[in-house]
């Protein structure tokens, strides 16, 4: 089937998502919870785009293309809401994310500076009990990429989402850290993490 992305026509297979079509057309929208090695998750809502004839923005990562779809990555409402969401995400961290992280890059690309929301942030909680992998729980934005890397890519099932609402976070095993879990030290979680909430210890020390 054929869709257009910002006016550029692109041929896509059935069941292709809007996000894949956007990238196939050489365009882009920012994402935080998306990792091409994993099933789409639809949590961050930063990849919102406009589609002609559809009321309101759609998440690009989980919406399948329809033939003839006209996709607008610059849709004003989509960008405004995505920007507001990234500002909310920054507001839950007690410190700004490191400049090299995906979160910091996305924030820069949308022009989000210091968030205006005062109030609660995640409690600082570092766990360096494992020789290679470290948690900085306060940087977790619950994108689920580490959990999916562990479940879908590695099949180790060592990680889980925890809590709910604003208290959501991640844990390994029964929250006893990576070492007391089924972690095989593959590093797939750290590799996918967009905020450095999970890092390889060697990198942390450099």
């Amino acid at each position: 089937m054929r869709v257009t992305v910002d006016g550029v026509a692109v041929e896509v297979e059935p069941d292709t998502t809007i996000l894949t079509a956007i990238r196939a057309a050489g365009a882009n929208v920012p994402t935080l919870c998306f990792d091409a090695r994993q099933d789409p998750f639809g949590a961050c809502r930063v990849c919102l785009v406009g589609v002609a004839g559809v009321r309101g923005p759609l998440p690009a990562c989980t919406t399948p293309c329809r033939d003839g779809m006209e996709i607008d990555t610059a849709d004003e409402t989509s960008r405004r809401v995505a920007t507001a969401i990234v500002e909310l995400v920054l507001s839950e961290l007690p410190v700004a994310p490191a400049p090299h992280t995906e979160l910091a890059q996305v924030a820069r690309s949308l022009g989000v500076g210091t968030p205006r929301w005062p109030g609660a942030t995640h409690a600082t909680d570092h766990d360096e009990r494992h020789p290679y992998l470290a948690f900085q729980h306060e940087l977790c934005i619950s994108c689920g990429r580490c959990v999916r890397a562990c479940d879908e890519v590695q099949g180790a099932f060592a990680l889980t989402a925890t809590g709910r609402g604003f208290g959501a976070n991640i844990a390994a095993g029964l929250d006893g850290g990576f070492r007391d879990s089924t972690c095989v030290s593959c590093g797939a979680c750290a590799d996918s993490c967009p905020t450095d909430a999970i890092t390889e210890i060697t990198l942390l020390r450099i």
Partner: protein, 550 residues
């Protein structure tokens, strides 16, 4: 959660393993709190990875609050708020010297909150162990150790021949087995244009048709008994007073769709629902109406009843399925829809219990008779319920299209104690707030939508002239933030920030609030985040001067 985890659960389910959630619920019931030993036992019994079990154990309210030998749960639902403005919660906290979620050091007493116990006809309500007391002086009784069981609400129908308030007899199912093929029953339900009663109003026949079209050999019917709208006790009535009608609807859905098993998920806040449904299922089995080769038709169907563990969002269909699988009750992006990939990854029809309770009538009397129940309006009849602030609260079966004023003033008798009605919230926490000046509207899907309101699940909560609308905004947003499943970013963070704006007596910056509401409405993954702004928008439209805006 990942597909791999669901596949893991599917394989263990085939071996009749208990779910991790069931094992954890039993452990907390027996010992008052969870230990790692309990979590390991749940992992071993269910086949789930330990990490996944840990995630489950941190998600559900029932697993989190430590329990003393006497465990008190105070209802913080919207009806209880409408009655006391939360004074009952404060009195209980102060008298016990406990905050919500705390247990005395000696383990004698614990206090937790619960939303909602479904005794909205008699608010406020407190649960003492499994005994629920409600009404005047409930706090005094509970503190004096004299907790007594509250009376159940009255129920009645305005129809000469009630459809939903009539005890289920299985006559529709027997009629369908004798006279309908699966296809003709499906066509009848489609023709009846029965819209989902759980909130979204999606045509049930279309959902069934999607599932029927799937080539999968195994399919499931799921009755959603966990809508959980604070202020509604319609599902509670159906599951506890009329469980056979719900089960009959499920069997009919199974017949039409080609499913041989159904699940009901009840709410743990209604401790009598699961036993009532199980008893009704047992007698249906005895009568040969559930089981293998029913009435020699070649159609087999049976039902499993499960109970949730304290989560409002589990009323969303993908989260509901995760809860039945014993996993964290978080929402999944659709597509795929449950009709294509649902429970254990297999095609599943998820219908609200009231939706299913409509099906026996359609099977027996046909689509035309069903449409005629509410002339000139949406098809069928609807259960509504009213909160304690009304003079005659209870469950009523009404016709669509009835003027809202007639429902509130004639049926429910207007406000009690000579109070004046200030506003209504219809259809649950995601429904808009209607000021008392706008009651001249037909009770129906489209008409209410035009006023920013909805039929929703049919709970009608009246607020009288004493209600502080800023407190109401804070009450609703506190509920919203507490119940957010935490998956999508706008809901997870946005509802917390919106609540915080109203938390202290600070002026609320209207522009920031509206930006937040837009992010929630446009960005959220499910109706919880996208719907919570609706009542706040109504408050901004009708009661802006009471909100302390900047």
């Amino acid at each position: 959660m990942s597909k791999n985890l669901v596949e893991l659960v599917r394989r263990t389910h085939e071996h009749s393993a208990p779910t991790a959630l069931e094992v954890l619920k039993d452990a907390v019931e027996a010992r008052g709190e969870l230990t790692d030993e309990d979590r390991r036992a749940a992992a071993a019994a269910s086949g789930l990875p330990e990490a996944a079990v840990y995630g489950v154990s941190t998600f559900y309210d029932d697993l989190l609050a430590p329990r003393g030998r006497r465990h008190l749960r105070v209802c913080t639902g919207t009806s209880c708020f409408a009655t006391t403005a939360n004074a009952h919660v404060d009195e209980l906290r102060e008298a016990l010297g406990l905050e919500l979620g705390e247990r005395r050091d000696d383990g004698s007493v614990s206090l937790a909150e619960t939303v909602c116990l479904g005794f909205c006809h008699s608010s406020p309500a407190i649960r003492d162990g499994d005994l629920i007391d409600a009404g005047d002086a409930v706090v005094e009784r509970v503190l004096a150790g004299g907790t007594r069981g509250a009376s159940e609400p009255e129920w009645s129908s305005v129809l000469a021949e009630p459809v939903l308030i009539r005890p289920g007899t299985w006559a529709g199912f027997e009629h369908a087995l004798a006279r309908h093929t699966a296809e003709s029953l499906l066509e009848e339900v489609k023709a009846a244009r029965v819209r989902g009663r759980g909130g979204a109003g999606f045509p049930a026949g279309d959902k069934w048709a999607f599932a029927r079209a799937s080539p999968s050999e195994q399919k499931f019917i799921v009755a959603n008994g966990d809508e959980g709208d604070p202020g509604s006790y319609i599902d509670k009535y159906l599951m506890e007073q009329n469980p056979a009608l719900v089960l009959e609807g499920m069997a009919l859905a199974g017949y039409a769709v080609g499913a041989d098993h159904g699940f009901v998920l009840t709410r743990s806040e209604y401790p009598l629902s699961k036993p009532a449904l199980e008893q009704a299922a047992a007698s249906a089995r005895e009568d040969g109406l559930l089981g293998d080769d029913i009435r020699g038709s070649g159609f087999s169907f049976d039902v499993t009843v499960l109970e949730g563990a304290g989560s409002y969002v589990v009323g969303e269909e993908t989260a509901l399925l995760a809860c039945i699988e014993g996993l964290r009750g978080t929402v999944s992006a659709r597509p795929p829809f449950p009709a294509v990939r649902g429970l254990y990854g297999l095609p599943t029809v998820v219908n609200n219990t009231e939706t299913l309770a409509n099906i026996p009538f359609i099977a027996r009397e046909g689509a035309a008779a069903y449409a005629a129940l509410s002339p000139g309006a949406s098809s069928g009849s609807k259960l509504v319920c009213f909160n304690e602030r009304f003079a005659a609260p209870g469950v009523y079966e009404v016709r669509f299209g009835t003027p809202l004023r007639e429902l509130c003033e004639e049926l429910a008798g207007g406000m009690r104690d000579g109070r004046e009605l200030k506003a209504l919230q219809i259809g649950g926490p995601l429904g808009g707030i209607l000021p008392a000046s706008q009651l001249d509207v037909a009770f129906d899907f489209d008409q209410l939508a035009e006023l920013g309101c909805m039929v929703g699940h049919g709970g009608i909560v009246g607020f009288d002239d004493r209600t502080d609308m800023r407190d109401l905004a804070r009450h609703l947003l506190r509920f919203g933030a507490h119940e957010s499943c935490g998956k999508c970013f706008p809901c997870r963070i946005g509802l917390r920030r919106a609540h915080d704006m109203f938390e202290e007596r600070r002026a609320v910056d209207r522009a920031s609030l509206e930006q937040l509401l837009e992010a929630l409405e446009v960005g959220s993954l499910c109706a919880h985040g996208s719907g919570m702004p609706a009542p706040i928008r109504s408050l901004l439209a009708h009661f802006a001067d009471e909100l302390g805006l900047a």
